[in-house]
Amino acid sequence: MVDFLNPTGWALALLQTLLFAAGAPLLVAWVKRIKSRLQNRRGPSLLQPYRDLHKLFGKEAVMAHTASPVFRAAPYIVFGATLIAASVIPMLAVELPTAAIADVIVLVGFLALARFFLALAGMDVGTSFGGMGSSREMLISALAEPAMLMAVFTLTMSAHSTNLSSVIEHVLNSGLLLRPSFLFALLGLLLVAVAETGRIPVDNPATHLELTMVHEAMILEYSGRHLALMEWAAQIKLMLYGVLLANIFLPWGIASTLSAGSLLTGLIAIVVKLALLGVILAVSETVVAKMRLFRVPAFLNLAFMLSLLGMLSHVILEVGA
């Protein structure tokens, strides 16, 4: 049981959340840089997303005449829900008190809350681009959610817990076993992460003025600080999936005690893991082309089938494990 009344724990959880928010733009810049290198370009500086955010926060916000209060509130709700989701994920250490606030199903709920308001904001001004983005986003997320939960269920069935901290500890304690169910769940979750964070081949974060865009279409009408919050939330979401994948499937290095040394190890470990994941993402985005919208269901079906295989192999092969 996590100690709820531990002031060090709460302070550390707060610090971890701030680190999450501060580090997210860096991860995006890192992926962009590797991608540029792979395409024989120099690419923007690693600080470019920070400069962009700083610029946007300083700019005047412009809203359409037809925009309603939902449009104005949405950036704060999207950002808040994404940040809360980030705060419950064990990044540096397990057994932080925030991990007990929400388990992995609630985590999916937070992301769904953010998406709900993002899609409403897309519909709000009444432009066709916004409606199109919302419609497609809701389709993709509807198909991604069962695949994601199936992958998560495979883990929770063997850990006997939906608490992220407990799942990670379970993986840590059971050592480096090659479990087919984990492998399938990892693959399924990787595909889901690509779809949910709007990366190639499902969506292209670098595109504008194309009928292929999804996320960019929904935030097309935003400007100034509202746009900054939406962009930042998207960056946190990418990092969130990265940390989730890294720490659930490869939790080694994460601090299980709250001492300075182990926390430093945890920090270095997660930075290395995220850097590696960023390279994998950049390479896959370079070699894979974006697919048509109606190919996406097949892609997500594959993710679901992989997760289902993970579940079946858990039931068939790992009974009693």
């Binding site: 926060f57 916000a61 808040g80 705060s87 199903i105 998406r115 709900f116 389709l139 929770t156």
Partner: protein, 670 residues
């Protein structure tokens, strides 16, 4: 006698509902009485029911009463235990909302051709009937109250009977309600046969062989499932619920379906008592299919009330998933997990009553002020009806199962129950349960998509028609009625430990087993199985969201850029969009229609009219109508044609038939 107070209050609630019905007779001369007498009486009845129900839940006693009515050898038995108390409270809560809302809503009927005495009278009888079902302690009174409920709601569905589709919907409803009622009656018959009596006490004591128990269970599952609207028995629901006046739709979808759930829980968990896990598998599969298909059919609708009616099918499916999980765990000897499933189902029952009632009242507010049910002609209502828009948003978030509102808590509990599948021995069950929860996840995500569509098309953007552009906010009473339900949606979402603590007494009384660990870490932490397995702290979630909002809004923006400038929409630099360029409800759902195309009957055509313009028509309908009901209709018609052979019109031949029948009967009984 302080012990009997809740039951006396409950009986008084029934009497007041009937008094409300009787007072409606006077509205023929004085229509204003509807607002000043009929609805307030109904509201007081609801408040009494709520008080009685909460009292019974808190007290945890069983109170009984015998009325000098009914059969000579069996007086009507009333009983208020915690299960009835919970459902009394549920009925009362929604009835209060409806009674606050009703006076404003029925004003438009005051000067029309529609009969106010019929509306007020049948509403009161309907509410009294539902309370009677919940309070009944013998099968005879149960069936009488059940039929009162069905028949009075038939007249409410047929209220605006000048439209032919309404008459058709009402007839379909009546027919299916009676097929269902017959099945329930037979189910009670099996129990009464073994238990030697119609009183529930005798049925509880009955010793049934597993085979007969299964027969009784199947009859009850079919009968109550028909009323609850499980697929494939749901076809009446999307026809009947939308055509009733909106506050009646709220009662039917919010409460009457819950009375069917009550009947099923009472029959299976209380009267039958011995559980077989195979029943649970059936309930789970039917529930999961209902949930998924219900939401998919809902996505295809553009009539707002019809869409909400299909969502009732979905939510009943979610409730039955919880009940199915409960039966599976109870049948395999895991009573604590069975209790978890039952509590999840009951939690979703009250949640659905709240948010579906709220959403139907919201749809009624739109109908009242814009005279529009078709979403394709709505738009921009949030600016014209800000309060209704806010409450409707709360309903949308709740039904989409998003934290920190109430729908999320019950779905979370259902997931928690399903994820305990590892305790089961059978590998098939261990795979089935996660699969069902994956379907639940898909359902939840599609429901969110559907309510983005509803809210985005109806309340956001620009108005698509003139009446909608002229819509005005509704009266104070109508807003308060919606606000009451919306506030409860938030309260039940943020304070789940109190709700689970109160619900806990139901399985304790029915099954002798509670969920003690669920609230042992204080009111902040909900830990259904154990703290190691899962915990959820809704107050912290709400606090965290508000903290993040405050941080983002106060720390990040600098002084000189606080103002927001308004201008035309950007839309990638094209001309400012007009109302016709917006995404419509049909367009929004098009990708989902294409992906799940095989499940719908899609009729899409492009025809060229005489003046050379092309018309596009799209009609998406339910496949079950063609799969199951058309064959039954055809078979009935064919059988009827056969029977006409004996109908010759010649009176001598008819006399011959009568004589023949008489002879055969005499031979049979001799």
């Amino acid at each position: 006698m302080p012990l009997d107070l809740p039951l006396s209050l409950a009986s008084l609630a029934v009497v007041l509902a009937l008094a409300s019905a009787a007072s409606a007779l006077a509205t023929r001369q004085r229509p204003a009485l509807m607002r000043w007498l009929v609805m307030p009486l109904l509201g007081i009845s609801g408040a009494l029911a709520l008080t009685a129900g909460l009292g019974a839940l808190a007290g945890g006693h069983i109170e009984t009463m015998s009325l000098p009515m009914g059969l000579p050898w069996l007086h009507w038995q009333l009983r208020l235990d915690v299960l009835s108390g919970f459902f009394m409270a549920l009925i009362g809560t929604v009835v209060i909302g409806v009674a606050l809302y009703g006076p404003g809503y029925v004003r438009e009927f005051e000067h029309g051709r529609d009969s106010l005495p019929a509306l007020g009278g049948f509403t009161g009888i309907f509410v009294a009937g539902m309370m009677g079902v919940v309070l009944a302690d013998d099968a005879f009174m149960f069936m009488v109250a059940w039929e009162v409920m069905s028949l009075s709601s038939y007249f409410l569905v047929a209220f605006q009977h000048e439209h032919a589709p309404n008459r058709r919907a009402a007839f379909l409803y009546l027919l299916m309600a009676h097929v269902g009622g017959l099945s329930i009656l037979l189910g009670y018959g099996v129990l009464a046969g073994f238990g030697d009596g119609f009183a529930f006490d005798a049925m509880r004591a009955a010793q049934l062989s597993p085979g007969w128990a299964t027969v009784a269970f199947l009859l009850a599952f079919f009968g109550f499932g028909m009323k609850a609207g499980l697929i494939p028995l749901h076809v009446w629901l999307p026809e009947a619920h939308p055509v009733a006046p909106s506050h009646i739709s709220a009662l039917m979808s919010g409460v009457m379906l819950k009375v069917a759930v009550y009947g099923f829980v009472r029959f299976t968990f209380d009267l039958l008592g011995a559980f077989q896990w195979q029943w649970g598998v059936l309930v789970l599969i039917v529930g999961a299919v209902s949930a998924l298909l219900g939401v998919l059919y809902a996505l295809m609708q553009h009539d707002l009330k019809r869409l909400l009616a299909y969502h009732s099918v979905e939510n009943i499916g979610i409730i039955y998933i919880g009940l199915g999980l409960s039966l599976i765990f109870l049948g395999t000897g895991h009573p604590v997990l069975g209790v978890l499933g039952l509590i999840a189902a009951l939690y979703h029952t009250i949640n659905h009553a709240l948010f579906k009632g709220l959403l139907f009242l919201g749809a009624g507010a739109i109908l009242h002020s814009a005279h529009e049910r078709d979403m394709e002609r709505m738009g921009g209502l949030l600016r014209r009806m800000p309060w209704t828009g806010l409450f409707f948003l709360v309903g949308c978030i709740s039904i989409s199962a998003l934290p920190p509102f109430n729908g999320f808590v019950s779905e979370w509990l259902t997931f928690q129950a399903a994820l305990q599948a590892w305790t089961l021995k059978s590998g098939v069950l261990r795979t089935l349960l996660p699969l069902a929860s994956a379907m639940l996840a898909l359902t939840g995500a599609l429901a969110a998509a559907c309510f983005v569509k509803v809210y985005g098309v109806a309340f956001l953007g620009q108005a698509r028609s003139r009446p909608v552009r002229r819509a005005r906010e509704v009266t104070l009473g109508m807003r308060v009625g919606q606000g009451w339900l919306a506030a409860l949606c938030l309260a039940l979402g943020v304070l789940p430990t109190f709700v689970v603590g109160a619900l806990n007494s139901i399985p304790q009384q029915l099954l002798g087993q509670g969920l003690a660990g669920s609230t042992e870490h204080g009111w902040l932490w909900l830990t259904p199985v154990s703290a190691e397995t899962a915990s959820y702290s809704a107050p912290f979630v709400l606090g965290g969201l508000m903290l993040a909002w405050w941080l983002a809004s106060s720390l990040l923006r600098r002084g000189e850029v606080r103002k927001v400038r308004r201008c035309d929409a950007w839309d990638c630099g094209f001309a400012p969009p007009n109302a016709r360029m917006q995404y419509t409800a049909t367009a929004f759902a098009q990708p989902i229609r294409r992906v799940f195309g095989g499940l719908f009957h899609i009729d899409e055509s492009v025809t060229t009219t005489e003046d050379g313009r092309e018309r596009h028509a799209l009609h998406v309908s339910d496949r079950f109508w063609g799969w199951i009901y058309q064959p039954i209709v055809r078979a009935t018609n064919a059988a009827a044609r056969r029977v006409t052979l004996i109908q010759s019109g010649n009176v001598r031949i008819y006399l011959g038939w009568s004589l023949g029948t008489l002879v055969v009967l005499l031979w049979l009984i001799s």
